[in-house]
């Protein structure tokens, strides 16, 4: 199909879990690659050495600022891609790589890691450790609709992606503390439980209906903060959940 968008997967310092998550869409991924997107760059997936021009770059992992090649590649990514998507906790917020202190073979001096947004401008965030296959899928479909869809589809995609773009503008930290400072301290928490269910390390419980985080367990992935309906909530999008879900499923048929 001529009207596909071009997508690349850029691997910075991450565990490849995000890529596995993308692959975990199984048949859905094949449909995406069949109809909507050409994979033009990707470690082990596309036989391309240098980062080419592309519509959407999916960046996994944080940037090791002690590694010249990583820094160069992330800068190139910004130059070559129209839309840069930070995929996963490390790319968005640093995640587990925030706790790196170096000292690992075979390059012990690689000790300082930054979320992608601290080095280049990022357009869209997909937080979570690992980000879910469904969230990656939804963003892929919406990115396609945004670039190639009809007027209505473009509008839907714009509305859908807006909160994830705002998340990218908001900054490069999100952990349980952000739930405290921007939801609980702001008098917005109503004890729904979303944060506890989103937390991949079970760091959050509810005491008398309100979230308590074991901050030593928190890996700074940003899932709790972004899953919370009181961190951000779009009345343009969420109430149309039935139609949007159907549209996404239909796109993958």
């Amino acid at each position: 199909m001529v009207d596909k968008i071009t997508v690349g997967h850029i691997h910075m310092s991450g565990c490849t879990g995000c890529l596995v998550s993308l692959a975990d869409n199984y048949g859905g991924l094949l449909t995406i690659l069949d109809r909507y997107a050409d994979l033009v760059y990707g470690l082990t997936l596309a036989d391309v050495r240098h980062i080419p021009k592309m519509d959407v770059a999916l960046v996994e992992g944080s940037v090791c600022i002690n590694d010249k090649l990583s820094v160069e590649e992330i800068k190139q990514t910004r130059e070559k891609a129209a839309v840069v998507v930070a995929v996963g906790g490390c790319a968005c917020y640093g995640n587990i790589t925030r706790f790196a202190r170096g000292g690992q073979q075979n390059q012990p001096a690689h000790e300082a890691y930054l979320p992608v947004g601290d080095i280049i401008k990022v357009d869209v965030y997909i937080p979570g450790c690992a980000p879910t296959p469904q969230q990656i899928r939804n963003v892929c479909v919406m990115a396609y609709l945004l670039l190639k869809g009809t007027k209505e589809q473009k509008e839907l995609a714009t509305n859908y992606l807006k909160p994830l773009m705002m998340a990218a503008q908001r900054g490069t930290t999100a952990c349980f503390c952000d739930l405290m400072t921007e939801v609980i301290n702001q008098g917005l928490c109503m004890g729904c439980g979303s944060c506890a269910s989103a937390c991949p390390v079970r760091a959050i419980t509810h005491e008398y209906g309100k979230p308590q985080g074991v901050r030593d367990l928190c890996i700074k992935c940003g899932a709790c903060y972004n899953q919370c309906p009181r961190s951000w909530f779009s009345f343009d999008v969420v109430p149309a959940y039935e139609a949007i879900n159907e549209a996404i499923m239909a796109a993958l048929q």
Binding site: P163, M190, S194, E207, Y208, Q227, W232, P239
Partner: protein
């Protein structure tokens, strides 16, 4: 406004046809009977509901371990649990009037509890949380498609547990363990004792104990549920029911066809939809004003608005 009741396909006044169930239920037994029916029919294979200490001690494996441990749960303090039989549903029936983080179990329901088709009951904000995690599944891998029935309950505001203690033990001068039922209706907060005594508090007294997070909520009748229900609008012992989504429509039609509910047209009952609309508008107007006030809360400093 016209949008205060959300989108819905049908609205009726209804009550369960099961007399035994009605003895345990808050009003028309809609949530309990709907889940019981859905379990029977295989529409869901378990439901996330709010349970008490008695239930939790008898069925610890149905609850997630909370801290303090189940032994320390106070009377009328709910915790979320996953029920999969009618008897368990009955044990969980009735409104608790304080916060129960049901959504916290939604992922676990599909994991260690092994459910493929999850039912969940919750307040309007919890329905918003459920829909957000279906559209933006940031920390909810493979969960969204497993949510088979989301039942919402009307909600003006909720209370922290300690607020309920304050209202019952201080204002109503009753011990928490002596309470049989609590209810908000007819402009009053009602506390029914196990010995038959009834204490009523004007709602005005309760306002300062409300959960602050409720004051920015713009949804009264759980607009995003598959089916939402509450006492307001219907006669005593009946519930008003909004059938909203395709899933809701199909489940409700089957339940009615199976004779699970007695039904009256909503325009034939008193006080009817007009009261629901009135209260919904009151809540939305009041909370929109709160959101406005938050913009100029400090000196050149706003409080956050979560809505995009």
């Amino acid at each position: 406004m016209g949008t205060e009741l959300g989108n819905y396909k049908t609205c009726v006044s209804a009550r369960s046809t099961n007399k035994k169930l009605l003895k345990h239920s808050q009003d028309g037994g809609i949530v309990t009977h709907l889940f019981a029916f859905a379990l029977d029919e295989g529409i869901i294979d378990g439901a996330i509901v709010a349970v008490s200490k008695e239930f939790a001690l008898k069925n610890p494996s149905k609850c997630m371990a909370f801290n303090p441990t189940l032994d320390d749960l106070e009377p009328w303090r709910p915790i979320p649990a996953i029920v999969s039989t009618k008897a368990e549903l009955l044990a969980a029936a009735g409104t608790k009037y304080n916060i129960c983080p049901n959504v916290s179990l939604i992922k676990e329901a599909t994991r260690s509890f092994g459910l493929d088709k999850v039912g969940i009951v919750g307040t309007p904000c919890q329905m918003q949380a459920v829909r957000k995690l279906q559209l933006y599944p940031i920390g909810a891998r493979d969960v969204g498609a497993s949510i088979a029935l989301a039942v919402g309950i009307f909600c003006m505001e909720n209370f922290p547990y300690q607020s309920i203690v304050q209202l019952v033990e201080d204002h109503a001068a009753m011990k928490m363990e002596a309470v049989k039922k609590m209810e908000i209706g007819k402009g009053k907060f009602w506390v029914y004792g196990k010995r038959g005594q009834i204490v009523q508090l004007p709602l005005k007294v309760t306002h300062k104990y409300e959960q602050p997070g409720c004051h920015v909520c713009l949804d009264y009748v759980a607009n995003l549920a598959d089916i939402s229900t509450g006492s307001v609008g219907s006669p005593d012992g009946w519930s008003t029911v909004f059938v909203r989504s395709k899933i809701g429509d199909s489940v409700w039609a089957k339940a009615v066809a199976a004779g699970a509910f007695e039904i009256q047209p909503i325009d034939k009952v008193k006080p009817g939809l007009e009261l629901v609309s009135k209260l919904a508008n009151e809540k939305i107007t009041k909370n929109r004003a709160t959101l406005e006030e938050r913009k100029t809360f400090g000196v050149g400093k706003a409080l956050r608005n979560p809505y995009i």
